[in-house]
């Protein structure tokens, strides 16, 4: 790999947008050691910073790690250089969507999109509707069915959504989303 020829402009853009200076990262891996989800990632968090430092834009934007990260901030609170890695992951997710690159975990993006559909329609999250649509689009009807049935039996999944009255005002809020998505 010829790192000297790589484009470092992404690293600068990520630093500016996330408000996080990760040049100070010296790869101690405290973030990777503490991350509860590291096993489900393709790169540990410190390696994502390394990709950015090397200017490996595509690798950073198309990795699974940025989608698996839930923003629990364990890494950010453990980093000896006080680097907010969760903010970096957050920024990379947004940029991946904006750039239209191949998404490494499309089912997670699909879930977030289903949540937004619910929010646009009702102004509030309707969990049963979100899960049904998510299962339909990922064709995973039978995965996890037992938990869904238990939740229904305990009436933890409302059949009907809780709704905002002024739904027109909510629709107005979504204009920026559709404008940015297009």
């Amino acid at each position: 790999m010829d790192t000297g020829r790589q484009d470092r402009s992404l690293a600068d853009a990520v630093m500016a947008r996330s408000g996080t200076n990760f040049k100070a990262c010296y790869q101690c891996r405290a973030c990777a050691a503490g991350c509860p989800f590291v096993k489900a990632m393709d790169y540990p968090p410190n390696a994502v910073l390394r990709l950015l430092q090397y200017g490996m834009t595509q690798e950073a934007l198309t990795c699974k790690t940025i989608w698996v990260c839930v923003g629990c901030h364990t890494c950010s609170s453990q980093c000896p250089m006080n680097i907010d890695l969760a903010a970096v992951m957050d920024t990379l997710r947004l940029m991946a969507v904006e750039e239209g690159v191949a998404i490494a975990s499309p089912h997670i993006l699909d879930f977030h999109e289903e949540v937004l559909r619910s929010l646009e329609r009702y102004g509030r999250a309707h969990k049963l509707g979100i899960m049904l649509r998510h299962k339909m689009s990922t064709k995973s009807w039978f995965k996890d069915l037992d938990v869904g049935l238990k939740m229904l039996a305990k009436r933890k999944l409302d059949l009907w959504p809780s709704k905002v009255k002024d739904i027109k005002e909510i629709a107005g809020l979504f204009q920026c989303y559709w404008r940015e998505a297009s």
Partner: protein
């Protein structure tokens, strides 16, 4: 609190407490009633934006939180129980203070002002202000024998963006200890519950949740108490350990200690029945 404590609060339930975690909502409202607090639900509130809006469009996330701020009347604090809602509402307030242009655009869109002076606080903060003495006076059941793991959840515990704001670490222990319970601090009380991965990748979350529950069992706790409705749900639905421990909403234990009688309606909604543990301690019939 000062000598004449302010008892009126705007209340933001959020999507979880309005639906899946209705038992947390009910028990919190019971607690508030017993303590003489007047929680007034925010008229026509909407979702705070949640992590999904924040992931896909920052402007949308900000606008959703901002609409709620525009609905909050001046002169009384805005209270949330869900840590994530609290975080997004506070984050939006913070952002709009610095960004006058976006604020004006949103105000124009809503046709009403966004009051940025409204104080946004967690329900636990009201209790801290009330003081432990007052809580003790109102207590009707002793929580003696209840060994709980305080499980704050990540959002109440460590968001760096809110590092200069109020931390709640220790408050749950202070409050429940004053009511007779015993905190167990050797378990994994700061390990993430898995958040939305519980919906998208349950096989990733189950082993993590099991580790949390097992650590609580090994520490001889008889329950976990959480301040976050999503943590409560994930710990309940994703746990597959042999020994299951009940996962309480903080508000349930509080309301129980304060003498609430409608606990049966909350506990039937749990996937791990919490009644045996409470019956052993003679806390419920």
């Amino acid at each position: 609190m000062s000598q004449s404590p302010q008892m009126d609060f705007s209340y933001f339930p959020g999507c979880s407490l309005a639906t899946t975690a209705a038992e947390s909502n009910q028990s919190m409202i019971q607690s508030a009633r017993i303590l003489g607090l007047n929680l007034i639900e925010l008229e026509d509130w909407n979702c705070c934006g949640s992590s999904s809006a924040s992931t896909l469009c920052k402007n949308l996330a900000l606008a959703m939180a901002a609409r709620n701020l525009s609905l909050a009347p001046a002169g009384r604090p805005l209270v949330a129980m869900c840590p994530r809602c609290l975080h997004y509402l506070r984050g939006a307030q913070h952002c709009l203070r610095d960004d006058g242009e976006t604020r004006r655009n949103l105000e124009e869109q809503f046709g009403r002002p966004i009051n940025l002076d409204v104080e946004i606080i967690h329900f636990m903060e009201i209790l801290v202000r009330c003081g432990l003495d007052r809580l003790g006076e109102k207590a009707r059941r002793s929580l003696k024998g209840l060994k709980f793991v305080p499980y704050y959840g990540c959002t109440l515990f460590r968001p760096p963006r809110l590092a200069r704001q109020k931390y709640f670490q220790g408050e749950m222990e202070n409050i429940l200890t004053a009511l007779g319970a015993e905190p167990v601090t050797t378990a994994l009380s700061h390990r993430c519950c898995g958040s939305f991965l519980s919906a998208t990748d349950p096989e990733v979350v189950t082993p993590l949740v099991n580790e949390i529950i097992d650590s609580a069992v090994a520490s001889r706790a008889n329950c976990l108490v959480t301040a976050c409705a999503m943590c409560q749900l994930n710990l309940e639905i994703r746990g597959t350990t042999k020994t299951r421990l009940p996962i309480f909403h903080f508000s349930e234990i509080l309301a129980l200690a304060l003498g609430a009688e409608d606990y049966e309606t909350w506990f039937v909604r749990h996937l791990v029945d919490p009644r045996p543990v409470l019956q052993n301690l003679a806390l419920v019939a």
